[in-house]
């Protein structure tokens, strides 16, 4: 008796739906086993990380705040991934966006006006785009693989952040702490009435809906899907690859930059060296868990937000290390990519016949 993988004639739509929940389930089982072996209460860890945030009444605001940047970045990445453009440096574009918006905030520190926040947001988007434009140029002009360049530029962004925090942008009244001034009332995101959720969460939902429409109904969406699915067919159809690389990198970079300035002008309300929290990397998991679909990214963004919030709960209630949430997130991507084989293949048990 052995297990054989038989290729399906067509990818199974049922499995495409079923594998993300399956991956989440396997993550819970494997995570429980892993943390039990490490000497923790494994089942309790899974309960705290995955169920407590969902079941308690007040955590939805935390979830919305964590999910907003994940969704924004993952929607952009998902569109790029559909075109076969592997931008894995959204973290760098997120930092660049945050810095560009902060630059506007510091330049307008003594000013007042409703135009300041929109100017910061525009600067944030442009900052993310600029950071993604470098890999786009290198890929289209010199055929340099964007996986390497986007990732490496992330570390450049981190160094730039550290330099600015310790030097030019340090708060003059900050007792030497490496951080900027606090943003003024004109420079922070408004909150939804009666909550501490900033409007970035609403924008993220709107961006996802818009992206859904763009991918399904516009020629641009068709171009992106064609380039990713069959490059030769795209050339035949007149969809240039270079234009698509530029468009998807600028789009994903711009959305990462938008998420960056939303974080800076939202939860942080200033720029600090601890600004990079890994949203740009986690969003890769969100994009894949959401099947590279904008609405999938919303659902997957919420799942990953649960793991962030749950990780914090488990830290205080069970004494789990801070890395626990990261371990669960990585397990989830691992199981998702593994389970994806079921979309294209069937598992068949066969009896090997000997002559």
């Amino acid at each position: 008796m052995r297990v054989e993988l038989i290729r399906r004639p067509l990818p199974s739509p049922a499995m495409a739906w079923a594998t993300p929940p399956l991956a989440v389930l396997l993550t819970m089982l494997a995570g429980a086993a892993l943390f039990s072996l490490l000497g923790y209460d494994g089942p309790a860890a899974v309960r705290e990380i995955f169920l407590t945030p969902v079941l308690s009444r007040d955590t939805w605001q935390d979830l919305a705040i964590k999910a907003a940047p994940l969704i924004l970045i993952a929607v952009g990445l998902g569109i790029g991934f559909r075109a076969g453009v592997w931008n894995i440096g959204a973290e760098g574009q997120y930092i660049a966006g945050g810095l560009a918006g902060t630059g506007v905030a510091l330049a307008t520190w003594e000013m007042q006006g409703v135009w300041i926040l929109p100017a910061m947001v525009v600067a944030g988007v442009l900052g993310g785009m600029a950071w993604a434009a470098v890999p786009a140029l290198l890929r289209t002009r010199l055929q340099v693989n964007e996986i390497l360049t986007t990732l490496m530029l992330t570390y450049v962004a981190v160094q730039l952040l550290n330099y600015l925090m310790r030097g030019p942008w340090r708060d003059p009244q900050g007792f030497g702490f490496p951080q900027t001034r606090l943003f003024t009332e004109w420079q922070v995101l408004p909150l939804l009435p009666g909550t501490f959720v900033h409007i970035g969460a609403v924008v993220a939902l709107g961006v996802a809906l818009l992206a859904w429409f763009v991918m399904a109904r516009t020629v641009f969406g068709l171009r992106v899907r064609t380039v990713g699915a069959a490059p030769a067919a795209a050339r035949h159809a007149g969809f240039g690859e270079g234009d698509t690389v530029w468009a998807t990198l600028l789009l994903s970079g711009g959305l990462a930059g938008l998420a960056g300035i939303f974080e800076a002008a939202g939860p942080f309300a200033q720029m600090v060296p601890q600004f990079p929290t890994g949203y740009g990397f986690t969003a890769i998991i969100v994009a894949f868990l959401g099947r590279l679909h904008p609405i999938g990214a919303v659902l997957a963004g919420l799942v990953l937000a649960v793991s962030y919030v749950g990780g914090e709960i488990a830290q205080s209630s069970l004494g789990l290390p801070a890395a626990a949430a990261g371990v669960f997130q990585a397990l989830m991507l691992f199981f998702l990519l593994g389970a994806d084989v079921l979309v294209r293949y069937r598992l068949v048990l066969t009896q090997r016949v000997r002559p």
């Binding site: 990818p11 899907r225 069959a230 067919a233 007149g238």
Partner: protein, 516 residues
């Protein structure tokens, strides 16, 4: 019906191979239904049938790649179960596949060594290869790199690889589909010599004149069943075709061409080859007038794909090298060329003409979005796309569940009808089509040929790039040959001989890389 009743020569006591009641079922189709087949030592036996008739499934079971669901296989009189190709080869069964598995960058010798089950010192292997080449009068240099060889020579590598182990049964899968007529003759001589030494040969083909020339007996499959067993020499091509298709083959009805103005012109089209094995096009010139069908014959790998890409606009060239309706088009991109009335159908249906996982509806958008107004500005108009897909499906008799079916779900013939229909219904003034009926069943091929003839009769200029000489002779008004990136002067199809075209395909007119 047993083979013994109709065998032309006294049959030796034991058959080399005998199948009885072999059945193989796939999820959606019965690929082989109660098939009987017997091959005697020294016999060249044809397995004849259309695409999808079940020939490949049957030989895969003989070669150990699949197991039958029911039925028995006897090898030299003993029932056996063959569970792997390695075991098949140990018994003496060898197969030459239609698609070669060769490493371009390696020598002939290395390629043969890699494909052998036993490990031999290079010197001894080379001696054995030379012995086989001498025995069968084959010319091939074991030291040459595969990249420099013609398709016919590449096939010889596969044949030598099979002959090295002195097979008792050799299965040849559509061996002449890539050969010039002269190369095919050489292959037949080799096969006859092999049969005289007692090797049984199972010869898979759908080319009727070959089977009549080569094979003593034929088993004809249709829809997975044996529909007839016969002696091909005593049949006419028409009667064989009728057994194979189940109906009389339709002839292309062509109006006499009334050539109009020149719609497509190539003038000194030169294009460097891409990559290590690309072919460089050298100063191609040709005119195609409205109302005529011009064919480009030639063995694959002589510049056909480069020529197609230069015409469709996927590769750009000098502005005046390609002219559409009098407009210099060499630097125009695919979309701009379509605006000038060009349509193109690439050889590869999945991945080039269409996107496998897209619905038929979405696939219409790839090439017809502007000419059939399936988009307005930046927005797709899904209803119009679906309606156009439905129109193609209806007009070209595409068997599918509807416009929402993914392209990958269609059979080769139906998808080919769809992609050809998608271009023809855009009423192009110039149509370039590559391998229009490659791997397509006879019914679909006839429909496609008729559609092309009708389009030409309506005044369009058509260029057909094909390896299938039968197709080109049936369809075209003029015929040129592409060899080693050079194009021969076109000749009238009605007056040129197959032999002349064959010689041109073999490189008579130039010193291309494949000239010998």
């Amino acid at each position: 019906m047993t083979a013994l009743d109709i065998a032309p020569t006294p049959v030796p006591a034991t058959l080399r191979l005998e199948l009885r009641g072999v059945t193989k079922r796939f999820p959606r189709v019965l690929a082989n239904d109660n098939v009987d087949l017997s091959v005697a030592p020294g016999e060249i036996h044809a397995l004849l049938g259309e695409n999808g008739a079940g020939k490949s499934t049957l030989v895969k079971m003989i070669y150990g790649l699949m197991a039958p669901d029911a039925g028995t296989l006897s090898w030299e009189g003993t029932p056996r179960t063959i569970t792997s190709p390695k075991e098949a080869r140990r018994l003496g069964i060898n197969m030459v596949f239609q698609h070669f598995s060769l490493f371009e960058a390696m020598s002939v010798l290395d390629n043969i060594a890699l494909g052998l089950d036993e490990r031999l010192p290079r010197r001894r292997l080379e001696a054995r290869i030379r012995a086989v080449l001498d025995t069968y009068g084959l010319s091939l240099d074991p030291r040459r790199s595969v990249a420099t060889l013609s398709v016919g020579e590449r096939q010889r590598i596969e044949i030598v690889r099979a002959l090295l182990v002195e097979p008792k049964l050799l299965i040849m899968d559509e061996p002449t589909s890539v050969l010039t007529p002269q190369e095919a003759e050489q292959l037949f001589a080799t096969l006859r010599a092999l049969a005289e030494r007692g090797c049984a040969i199972l010869y898979i083909s759908h080319k009727l004149h070959e089977i009549r020339a080569l094979c003593a007996r034929a088993t004809i499959l249709r829809g997975g069943r044996v529909v007839a067993a016969c002696e091909p020499r005593h049949e006419s091509p028409a009667s064989l075709a009728e057994m194979m298709i189940g109906a009389r083959p339709r002839r292309v009805e062509k109006a006499r061409p009334r050539p109009g103005p020149v719609k497509l012109a190539l003038e000194g089209l030169s294009l460097p080859g891409e990559g290590d094995f690309g072919v460089t096009l050298e100063a191609l010139s040709l005119e195609v007038r409205g109302g005529e069908i011009v064919g480009i014959a030639g063995v694959a790998g002589n510049g056909q794909s480069e020529l197609f890409l230069a015409l469709s606009g996927e590769r750009l060239c000098a502005p005046e090298a390609v002219t559409l309706n009098g407009h210099p088009a060499g630097r125009l991109r695919p979309e701009e060329r379509r605006a000038h009335g060009l349509s193109a159908v690439p050889e590869e249906r999945l991945g080039h003409a269409g996107v496998p996982e897209f619905s038929l509806s979405e696939n219409t958008l790839l090439t017809a979005r502007h000419r059939r107004a399936l988009v307005s500005r930046a927005l797709v108009r899904p209803r119009r796309a679906a309606a156009f897909a439905a129109e193609v499906i209806a007009r070209f008799d595409v068997r599918t569940t509807g416009p929402r079916a993914p392209a990958a779900a269609l059979s080769g013939g139906n998808l080919q009808k769809f992609v050809v229909g998608r271009e023809i219904l855009q009423a192009p003034e110039v149509l370039v089509v590559s391998q229009p009926t490659w791997g397509v069943d006879a019914g679909a091929a006839a429909a496609i040929h008729q559609a092309l003839a009708d389009l030409a009769a309506g005044g369009a200029a058509i260029l057909v790039i094909s390896q299938d000489l039968d197709e080109l002779f049936a369809l075209t008004d003029r015929l040129a040959v592409l060899n080693g990136g050079r194009l021969s002067a076109p000749e009238d199809t009605a007056s040129v001989s197959v032999e002349r075209i064959g010689l041109l395909m073999g490189g008579l007119h130039g010193e291309g890389p494949h000239a010998r």
